[in-house]
Symmetry: C2
Subunit: 534 residues, 2 copies
């Protein structure tokens, strides 16, 4: 190793001069794998996913049935140009720059309601990666109904986390409203489980109200047509639920509220606290607090007492309307259509809460049937296939880091009739679909590829999986009984004639009697045994 130069030790004052602010854009540029841009293969899918997420959120918020087109076009060796076009409400001019050229900017972070995007990072991260690898800014075309269409280029000034807007101009566009984003980036198309095609197919499974068009880099066109014209219900925005609410968040709410009385504060700033419950909480908190205490003047000591009282008092479960599951019927129909399985079952759990955030778990299971040409269901001797979704978005990476995978591994599949190696996925011709819908999905990284294992989420997943498992066991037992009965019938069909021939010879029976004997013997033997049902 070459010798290092001797340097004098720096003083604390010298060290202080090295301290600096770090722009959030610089941070994520250096850590771009956190956002899903660690390889050209992943970059394509991540960019498409972020743009499609935004498109679907915007359409649904504006109550428009979404129709989204994805086009991938080769530009140069290792460089692709991707366009994502939606029929959403369009974006007003003043917002375009910030939405596409500033990290941590968005409409969904500050409200508790289910949506695909929640961080205000995704699409601007795609733009930042494009700029890093090809130097090209995003090209945006958008039209708000009744206004002219605009087109502009949006780059990002990473050292200040600010949009860098060029070439803004009015254009002719035949659509009434919508947005088209074009991204030129270092990327590579993949086939199979990590292809754009698979991603769109899975999106259509969890979003039967969406139509998706794809033209891939080779020019092949695919369309996934919606199977319902009904938009999912709009999720309601809610207040934080007391279960799992942290002291710090309670203090922040007390400080920022416009309510003038503690009683009203509890009822109006928290979910599911009625006037009686509020009274009970305040009485339990004691420390001089009354229903008429002024929230902003609650002291730290009192806030702690209130916090303990909140957690000691029973509050109703959160209302279901803030989370929108796919629903049993729709999920079952999608599963049956896509898996061609012998047996499908779906279990939707009631809403539960982690850290004050309501969530719902849905699990579907498809077993056996014809081997799927597209490879969704695994074969008998292989680990089962998992399809993971969070807020209706398919999760394609980091399977081993996900709470959903953990929950499948931790379920005792042997007792439901499957082969299950220790610490691994069970084996069998099976597909498990898991969906976590929440006002705030706790992802393990900003790229939103896996769900963090909060105990409450793990518990709901386990309950849904076990319920599916019990139904699978019943199905497998039934198939086994049926196949045992079929075996016996088969044996009877084969042996009865020989028995009758033997008896005929032995007892010197006539042909007519022999025939009757064959029928009677077969019928008698084919009757179900005691304790056995058909």
């Amino acid at each position: 190793m070459p010798r290092r130069a001797e340097r004098p030790a720096p003083t604390a004052a010298e060290l202080a001069t090295r301290q600096r602010d770090i722009s959030v854009a610089e941070f994520f540029l250096e850590n771009r794998h956190l956002l899903g841009f660690d390889s050209p293969q992943k970059a394509l899918l991540t960019a498409v996913k972020e743009a499609v997420d935004n498109a679907l959120d915007a359409c649904e918020e504006a109550q428009i049935l979404p129709e989204v087109r994805v086009e991938v076009r080769p530009v140069d060796d290792g460089v692709l140009r991707v366009a994502i076009e939606d029929n959403g409400p369009g974006i007003v001019e003043a917002q375009i720059g910030k939405i596409f050229g500033k990290l941590l900017y968005g409409s969904r972070f500050h409200k508790l309601s289910q949506s695909r995007g929640q961080q205000g990072l995704g699409i601007s991260a795609a733009g930042m990666y494009a700029q890093l690898t090809t130097g090209k800014p995003l090209s945006i075309r958008t039209r708000v109904v009744g206004e002219p269409a605009h087109e502009l280029s949006v780059g990002i000034d990473t050292s200040r986390n600010r949009p860098d807007i060029h070439d803004k101009r009015q254009v002719d566009w035949s659509v009434a409203h919508g947005t088209r984003v074009e991204i030129e980036l270092e990327a590579r198309e993949r086939a199979g489980a990590h292809s754009v095609e698979r991603y769109l197919r899975l999106t259509s499974i969890a979003n039967p109200h969406v139509t998706l068009h794809l033209v891939d880099a080779a020019g092949n066109a695919t369309t996934f047509v919606r199977t319902t014209n009904e938009l999912p219900p709009q999720p309601d925005e809610i207040k934080p639920h007391p279960d799992g609410l942290e002291l710090g968040r309670l203090v922040a709410l007390l400080k920022s509220t416009d309510e003038r009385h503690l009683g009203a504060f509890l009822q109006n700033e928290l979910s599911r606290v009625g006037s009686k419950t509020a009274q009970r909480i305040i009485a339990r908190a004691d420390h001089g607090l009354t229903a008429r205490s002024y929230p902003r003047r609650v002291a730290r000591r009192q806030a702690s007492a209130l916090y303990r009282a909140l957690h000691a008092t029973k509050v109703s479960a959160p209302v279901a309307s803030c989370v929108v599951p796919i629903g049993e019927a729709r999920l079952l129909a999608s599963l049956e259509r896509e898996s061609h399985a012998d047996f499908c079952v779906v279990v939707c759990r009631p809403p539960a809460v982690y850290r004050g955030n309501p969530f719902v778990v849905e699990v579907g299971l498809a077993y056996g049937g014809s081997t799927d040409a597209d490879g969704l269901t695994s074969s008998a001797s292989e680990p089962v296939t998992l399809l993971r979704f969070a807020n209706r978005v398919p999760l394609l990476f980091q399977q081993s880091a996900c709470a959903m995978t953990r929950a499948v591994i931790d379920t005792g599949w042997r007792s439901y009739g499957l082969t299950h190696p220790k610490g691994a996925l069970p084996l069998g011709p099976m597909l498990i679909l898991l969906h976590v819908a929440s006002v705030w999905v706790p992802f393990t990284s900003e790229s939103k590829e896996a769900v963090a294992s909060y105990p409450e989420i793990a518990r709901e997943l386990a309950l849904a999986l076990r319920a599916c498992g019990r139904k699978l066991r019943a199905h497998l037992a039934r198939s086994e009984r049926l196949s045992r009965a079929e075996d016996r019938r088969e044996r009877i069909r084969r042996y009865v004639p020989h028995v009758v021939t033997a008896l005929t010879e032995l007892l010197a029976l006539d042909a007519l009697y022999a025939e009757r004997l064959t029928t009677e013997l077969s019928e008698a033997l084919e009757l179900p045994r005691e304790g056995e049902s058909r």
Copy 2:
């Protein structure tokens, strides 16, 4: 499900009013699992780790042999108070607030040189979690040599990501220089693999120049004493290396440089580019570029050409002095001391580069020996134990998401003599220590618990593991040979007397001759056979 209220569809203008800036502190508060604060058990360890990382970095930068004390004290049910005190250079008053009460602020992000901290997130995240769960700010005491000691409380205003400073005062403190951080947080002490004690023990393995003291919540004191008084060499700060440098980063460097000529720019702003290499790159780039082109005026088209030329030209490997491995001798000594194994081997790879960032991989392997009372080495039928380190910091969580784990799983251990189930860790009484040192370690999340699988890093890990594996195979083969030879000697010792007795009787030999025969027979039979070495 309760009926949702019918709402009119919002217009694009209404949707625009919902867009807002998201403060980076709010973002991480909501996503605190990204920072390692998802459970009270993890919170304790993460807080200790962030504070110890900072203490060690500060001491080493000021060239002080680090001595760090960690005290854990129970405060209330589920609440602990942790103090971390170092003998570092202290912090000048003006910086205290920002270092402890502002996310994304620090001295290490903007320079390419190896350190434990790199993001400017850790300790302020610990403070934010403390404030969220107990409402208590961090308490900081610090003294710069020759100045009075100061004490103050630092909270964080999350909506603006700004420090909130209280109770600043001068205090008497007997130490000449150093810093003491106290954190009161919702936390729980764990025993075993995720204990503070284990964390400090592993830290001392990778940092033999550090003395660490621990007083746990039960009042038990433990000390890990340094085994060397020599500080590791100071890592040199370097310029980006051309290998894997992205176009965007090159453009940013061209725009921000103070160099007035392209030739000087290439030599002075990049690593390992000499004047000849610079000339070759510029000639290859063509597009009107010369050594005297003004860097800030290089056009996009020219920058692309320069970028391609950079990647087509061979540049020497990065200098080793920017990364400081633990080193073969030190690592082997630590491994032998801690594992009590029969066989230890360490392989240190030469520096390599990913995305322009130099890094070094070191792997140690300890096999067999007495079962370790503290449980570092696994037993024969269990998966091997992994000890993962990044820039000398032990990684205790997210083992399954880590490139180091992946590399161990993907190595063909069967050919080195171990049992190795497919897709899992090999089994055996073995410990594998892995260390990635880099000017920028790509962690899979802000909590820095696992290293992302960049292909270049995976490759270096694989090479080091295979080199260890080959040495293990030689050791196992040798032990097997030795044990075979021992078996034969044992058999000889047992049977020779019988043979001699039989011969004595058969040939009527006298006792003296029988004794000589015994010796001669034994010696003849114990000689190694042809092709067999001792």
